[in-house]
Symmetry: C2
Subunit: 194 residues, 2 copies
């Protein structure tokens, strides 16, 4: 478990509109317009909140014709409840470690990326390398299918050696390739630093 995940989860739940959305979805899937209607808000506002809810995996979606149905990921809530309840065991050592990990991670990212987001060089140390790639891969969209050319372009934003990095994306299971089409893997499959 990473600190950021924890903090982002709480930040996401720390908004009344989003809790209302969760509350609606707890009764069953709905599409954006329906949510907007029930809450008396506009579609863009709902999109904004859904984006955050998706980012922390509190909701997922399934498309049917033109309509995207949102589903609540209730198991994540249960899981977070578990994390919270165990957070302070062993006098908060767990939490302390999470904080330290997070600071280390942040430092690595600051070291290897320039202020305008370029990758200075590819770390040789596995752990650092993975952290750096994880960071880069944030910019890709889940579920979207990419042409190889698109991936190259994407990587070139960060570093000229797109071929090496593209290969690393596959090796470390950030993405998979089929018939020359690339797609992001679910995070559970990614190689983990330590």
């Amino acid at each position: 478990m990473q600190l950021n995940r924890l903090v982002e989860f709480y930040k996401t739940m720390g908004d009344p509109t989003r809790v209302r959305i969760v509350s609606l979805l707890a009764k069953g899937p709905l599409h954006g317009q329906a949510i907007a209607g029930k809450l008396g808000l506009t579609a863009p506002t709902i999109t904004h909140h859904l984006k955050k809810l998706r980012e922390v995996h509190l909701v997922y979606e399934r498309r049917d014709k033109n309509t995207i149905y949102l589903y609540l990921n209730s198991s994540l809530i249960k899981q977070q409840a578990e994390v919270l309840s165990q957070l302070l065991d062993k006098r908060g050592e767990e939490l302390e470690n999470m904080v330290e990990d997070s600071l280390e991670r942040q430092k690595i990212i600051e070291n290897f990326y320039t202020k305008d987001g370029k990758l200075k060089n590819i770390p040789s140390q596995r752990k650092k390398k993975l952290i750096v790639f994880e960071h880069m891969v944030q910019g890709l969209k889940k579920g979207k299918k990419y042409e190889e050319k698109e991936i190259n372009e994407f990587i070139k934003q960060f570093h000229e050696d797109y071929a090496t990095i593209r290969r690393e994306f596959i090796i470390n299971h950030y993405m998979y390739r089929e018939n020359g089409i690339y797609e992001l893997n679910p995070e559970e499959m990614w190689a983990k630093p330590e």
Copy 2:
């Protein structure tokens, strides 16, 4: 359980600095300066965060000479974990009710207070009355001892009939009086609407 409580708890935990403070306090009590030192932040910043942590009762304090030691209220964390884990039982009915309560509450407060925060009149319905008082009492400080005159002044900001309201404060256990000195009760003691 109130929705606001829940949302405020998450909003509070949804900040890395505050999680770091919690993490420090999990290992034992500390005073403000020590926290500031360990986190590399200034005292006012710590005050700011402690204020929020106190608001949701995540920390409490004990004074020793000039130094205020902060303690983590770990049982609140356990309790919130429990709430979270049960939130979606019965298909989210619980959550739905919390949302509805909260909206009702909000409406009552909007109805009985003017935009600049004056109380239009004292509701006769018990439930509404208590909600209105709870709202007013937010402005008082926990642990602070008030002269009767101070309480009167405080209430007069909202409504001219300070005598009635002051009496209600006592009747409904928002405050207690000893030798003409008033002090806020812990929230657990307050009369509850419904």
